[in-house]
Symmetry: C2
Subunit: 433 residues, 2 copies
């Protein structure tokens, strides 16, 4: 990586603390990613992006801002990326998946709060995230109590706009949400000084849809046995989707898919055919939270699909590109962004239906229900997840964890026991047929 010290210094980062953070990543990345066998060549781009995680992309954002562009930080799949692009801005996902700035975060937040929230607050307060410092506006939402209230704290340190995500999906909730989308559009126009028009929004929707389609294509390819890509690599791609340049990213995902298609045709996989296949469902895994996939995939399983915000919830729905007026398009954007079956909704039964469908479509042998500590929506909804899966005869392992490495050994033991159980179930099924 080139020397970006001047860039980081200009952004006001705490250079010493930031250096420590950067030092911590490479060995982890080597173990989790580079040590994998049979990786597709197309992953090189994504390795490069991670290698330059606080460098090249940040430089791009700064160049963009120097030409008058505005960068908008986001924390959730509910915030419409196409609106930000249509207003001439650029989005940057700020959810964070590593323990950092904990002391600073705990000075303003309760200790017992979800690690994702503590992490983004820590990144901001410890001044070690060049993306945070590149943002001209942060767009939060009310998807959970912790985030909703943490954005009030964050507003003491940066400009914040909060979208009210509803808690049901009734017609009145859709109306409220549509108004929230209009309000965000106006706020973005104020920020960038550019009008969102039918033309700019159409173009933006097409760009973001192209990204979603590329990710859908990637997802489809993972249905093969053996899958042509590891779950870890897929997760990395979803994580990068939140902050990389939309067109370059889309092209790179499609190029990777070309390669994966060839692999599938030739029966080439990252693991042996018949490797136990897992679906992961639950709380999002923000970059660089690779703990569970790494443990699962170095224990003899492969993750084939994610019912996560860093997964299908991010890309499965497209925004309707057809609209006679700007208002029509804004309605399309609003409708699309209420599709995600987040545990913030009550009831949220469609998540369960889709999860079962995903298990079938991806021929998964089992499910890991993944819950970040203190994430009440997913932790409580896990009751429904386990109930429905058990009724359907799908083995499920609930994992509650945080960003600390300390439970890795215990997790590995539990995942291994789960995989042994899956093997026994498969052997039994084989004997019975």
């Amino acid at each position: 990586m080139a020397d970006y010290t001047r860039l980081w210094s200009e952004l006001g980062l705490d250079l010493e603390a930031h250096e420590k953070l950067l030092q911590a990543l490479p060995p982890t990345y080597y173990d989790v990613y580079l040590a994998q066998e049979n990786r597709p060549r197309g992953m090189e781009y994504f390795d490069f992006v991670v290698n330059e995680i606080h460098g090249l992309r940040v430089q791009e954002l700064q160049d963009f801002r120097q030409k008058g562009g505005k960068v908008v930080g986001t924390f959730c799949v509910f915030v419409p990326e196409e609106l930000i692009l249509a207003a001439g801005g650029v989005y940057a996902g700020l959810c964070a998946g590593i323990e950092i700035g904990t002391a600073q975060a705990e000075a303003v937040l309760p200790r017992n709060i979800c690690p994702l929230i503590k992490s983004f607050m820590g990144f901001k307060l410890a001044r070690v995230c060049p993306y945070f410092e590149s943002c001209d506006l942060l767009v939060g939402e009310t998807t959970c109590d912790g985030k909703k209230k943490a954005f009030e704290v964050l507003a003491d340190f940066a400009p914040v706009h909060v979208m009210e995500t509803p808690q049901k999906k009734e017609p009145r909730d859709r109306e409220l949400w549509l108004e929230e989308v209009h309000t965000l559009a106006a706020r973005l126009e104020d920020l960038t000084g550019k009008r969102i028009t039918r033309e700019t929004l159409t173009e933006a929707i097409r760009k973001v849809n192209a990204k979603r389609r590329a990710l859908q294509r990637l997802g489809e390819l993972r249905k093969a046995d053996p899958p042509p890509l590891s779950g870890r690599d897929a997760l990395l791609i979803y994580q990068i989707a939140f902050y990389d340049d939309v067109e370059r990213f889309t092209a790179q995902v499609n190029a990777l898919c070309d390669e994966l298609e060839e692999r599938v045709q030739n029966g080439v996989g990252v693991v042996a055919r018949g490797t136990p296949r897992l679906v992961v469902t639950g709380t999002p895994m923000a970059i660089p939270n690779w703990k569970l996939p790494y443990i699962a995939e170095t224990s003899g399983a492969v993750i084939v699909a994610e019912e996560l915000c860093t997964g299908a919830r991010y890309y499965e729905a497209l925004t309707d590109e057809e609209g006679a007026t700007l208002d029509d398009l804004l309605a399309n954007v609003a409708a699309r962004h209420l599709e995600a079956d987040c545990a913030c909704f009550t009831p949220n039964t469609r998540r369960l239906e889709k999860l079962l469908e995903m298990v079938r479509a991806y021929r998964a042998d089992g499910v890991i229900s993944y819950v970040l500590s203190f994430c009440d929506p997913y932790a409580v909804e896990n009751y429904q997840v386990e109930k429905v899966l058990k009724q359907a005869g799908v083995p499920v392992l609930k994992v509650e964890t945080d960003y600390s490495p300390h439970d890795a050994g215990q997790l590995k033991t539990r995942v291994q026991a789960f995989l042994e159980m899956l093997g026994a179930v498969a052997a039994q099924a084989g004997a019975a047929t």
Copy 2:
């Protein structure tokens, strides 16, 4: 107390577990309540109600149900009591303030969830709450993640209707909430088989307003120095307000107020004039959660006001009784019930303004910011509470606790240290003038 074994048995309670619960209360009640000096005579009624907590009132509810009446369980100040009465029903607050049925609750809920939620789930699953078993419908709300999602679990064990409380107070939120009030009205009519009319709703609003006015009157009397009533006794009254018969309760509160007025005129208090005065703000204290007030008031302070749902948030706003049509009245009910400044709202700055006003009006020397463990909305909003109070020069002590007795010693030490600090501040202020 008479023998209610047959009643409890008919309600399907686990008699053995229930007996243990009943045994546990009297010694606590003696220490916290009966051992107080200078108590007003008017507290006898409320002592009687507690003594009969699972007896007489439950019998009344059963008698009411046997005549075809319906009992509706509630968990929050947002659920309009007047609607339930107008539909010919009776409400019963089900929030719970004691560790109970923990093993059963933790079988369906995460361990790290707020004790209030764990408690009501425990009461239900361990079959030890005759109120729960008397309910024909439970009305939940979406005020916090934990409750919102726990109601989905509860729906496996009892009929539940969930109101969507909005997260902001914009016009679109008021519209959504008004529709939720209409939906609840229809559901209650279905339940009771009785129409809510302009007449029945007017009468119900008047009854509940009379209760609120009585509680407002009680609150006003506590402004005196010395206050004529302890904070513990006031809290008990607020707790009983959620499930006692509305007219009897109102009459008893007013009778108590008559006595307290006389006390104030004669300068008679429950503590000596000049006793340090505290306001408590934060998470509700459901019956029989008396831990903090007991500790504070046996450490040399007196609590004079509560910015709590078991306090001012419950009674401070009245519902407008004037309306030409039923729809007008429903709009009044909806408007009134969005008044509460719950931490579920973002932003929630009016809570802070009202808290400061309360501190001034009640001439409080300090504030205890009370947070139940794992209650994200109040735990995170505590940042704002402390900030605003410190800016105003009001001493504040943050207390995070649960229903366990184990931290009582540590809490007492902290409260005593806080009171010593208040004394030093007062002495300094006295020396300066």
